[in-house]
């Protein structure tokens, strides 16, 4: 019995062919698994980025701000903008506001949001159904009875436009 085992172990015929085939196959399998893992990782990253961008777009679609009233006063030079979040998503923050006409533009970044009773909104955003207002202090007086546009850009990137007569 021991002699048979020793003979089997010392028999080198065709061993190199099996070994090389096994090693090659192993290498191929290993490389394939590596490539699969890498591809899987890449596709996961792509899926994640895609879902993120879709999520952002969906959230932006859900945002809806309406202008309840826009009022300009010449003393002090300011525009009061009263807003209502009638969309289907909370936390609508105002990133920037643009007041303009055909030859003039003034921008405002992150204006202070207040509730209609005058208190400052602590989280600086409007949840669903909430009303609030911002006061924009202008650098120049607006022309009487002239037509002006106002654009609000939210933190999520949605834009809402209105107009008023000074």
């Amino acid at each position: 019995m021991c002699r048979r085992i020793l003979r089997f172990l010392s028999d080198k015929r065709a061993l190199s062919d099996v070994m090389s085939a096994t090693m090659l196959a192993g290498t191929v399998v290993t490389l394939s698994l590596v490539v699969f893992a890498w591809s899987q990782n890449m596709s996961s990253n792509y899926n994640y980025q895609f879902s993120q961008s879709v999520g952002v777009e969906v959230d932006r679609l859900k945002e809806k701000l309406v202008f309840e009233y826009v009022y300009y006063t010449s003393a002090p030079k300011s525009v009061s903008v009263y807003l209502l979040n009638c969309g289907t998503i909370d936390n609508v923050g105002v990133l920037s506001v643009y007041v303009s006409n055909s030859s003039w533009l003034q921008s405002f970044s992150s204006p202070s949001l207040k509730f209609l009773n005058g208190t400052t909104i602590s989280d600086q955003d409007l949840d669903r159904g909430e009303e609030g207002y911002i006061v924009l202090s202008l650098s120049t007086s607006l022309k009487d009875n002239a037509y002006y546009s106002i654009r609000i850009v939210t933190v999520r990137g949605a834009t809402f436009d209105s107009s008023f007569v000074a």
């Binding site: 085939a21 196959a25 879709v54 777009e57």
Partner: protein, 337 residues
């Protein structure tokens, strides 16, 4: 068959090309798995986005279908800085609506105010619903410096973000002013008289709606008046305001009832003061033969079965000016009970 040859090849020790076969199989599997994964994920994300677009479109459609209309709008200033809006709301759209805010702009003094607590009035309207917000249900908006002579515009805001303009109708048609005379209109169909039970008016405030009045019985009269002053000012009546009847067929026969106050239970009390704001309607009671007091009065037997004319002689102030108006045109028949 190919698989069998391939296995036989390995079995016989001829393994050349096996790795490439395995590699190819793996490559195909990897490509298939990854592409399927990405494809399915993309499909699901696309479905999510499409659903969001559908929801947004549905909201826009609902917003377009919301149609709440206003009518019978009047603005009054019953108290300093308080603008009262009486309005009739009707939901003529196909979707329910919720009114959440009322804006009023005083174009005279260029100031505005709003009332965003009107949700407590439960202004939720199903299609076809009609709400009358008038009298004690009128909506108050605070505007510093507003007065009754100012001009106002207003609009409601709904939860969907629509704005509803307040449609002010012709506030005063001159022909409605007591047939063209004065600032107060008398409602003929609401004319009534009262008899007494002690010092209490019987069946107050309904009384007896009739132009046939009994003689030899203590009576009082209920007159419904509306302030339709074109200058929209409040009228305050003095204790000299009276109701006067006289008989063409019995010269010299006339009776006078002075204005009184009446407690909710019908007890007559001496007159103190009555103010009638613009568009406000009030019922006044004339019961006393004494100015500022209360002495009952009855119509004597000398004028039984005779018709008489009834005049209302109103005195007081309108805004800061004196006011006096004589409202005629009511006729009575005095019958023997």
């Amino acid at each position: 068959m190919i698989r069998a040859l391939w296995l036989k090849k390995i079995w016989r020790g001829r393994s050349k090309g096996v790795s490439s076969v395995i590699g190819t199989v793996f490559l195909i599997l990897v490509v298939f798995a990854i592409s399927t994964n990405v494809f399915l994920w993309t499909i699901s994300q696309s479905a999510t986005y499409n659903q969001a677009v559908k929801d947004a479109n549905q909201k826009n459609a609902d917003k377009l279908n919301e149609n709440i209309v206003t009518s019978n709008v009047t603005y009054t200033v019953p108290l300093p800085n308080k603008v009262k809006v009486d309005v009739k709301l009707a939901n003529t759209g196909s979707v329910s609506g919720q009114v959440i805010n009322l804006w009023v702009f005083d174009t005279t003094i260029q100031r505005y105010g709003f009332n965003n607590t009107i949700s407590s009035l439960n202004l939720n309207m199903n299609p076809g619903d009609v709400l009358y917000l008038a009298g004690s249900n009128g909506i108050i908006v605070t505007i510093e410096g507003a007065s009754s002579t100012d001009n106002f515009v207003g609009w409601f805001v709904t939860a969907r973000g629509n704005t509803i303009a307040l449609q002010v109708e012709q506030s005063v048609i001159i022909a409605n002013l007591a047939q063209g005379i004065g600032s107060i209109a008398l409602d003929f169909y609401a004319f009534r008289y009262y008899t007494y039970n002690g010092s209490k008016l019987v069946n107050y405030p309904a009384g007896t709606s009739s132009f046939n009045v009994p003689s030899r019985t203590d009576v009082a009269f209920g007159i419904v008046l509306t302030n339709l002053d074109p200058s929209k000012q409040t009228i305050t009546l003095s204790s000299y305001s009276q109701l006067w009847i006289y008989f063409p067929k019995a010269p010299g026969q006339s009776y006078v009832w002075y204005i009184v106050d009446v407690a909710p239970d019908g007890n007559v009390i001496p007159y103190s003061s009555v103010t009638i704001a613009y568009t406000q309607t009030k019922m006044l009671v004339f019961a006393s033969s004494e100015v500022g007091g209360f002495i009952k009065i009855s119509i004597g037997s000398a004028v039984e079965n005779l018709p008489c004319a009834l005049n209302l002689l109103l005195l007081g102030t309108i805004g800061t000016r004196d006011y006096g108006q004589n409202i005629p045109f009511v006729s009575l028949y005095i019958y023997k009970p």
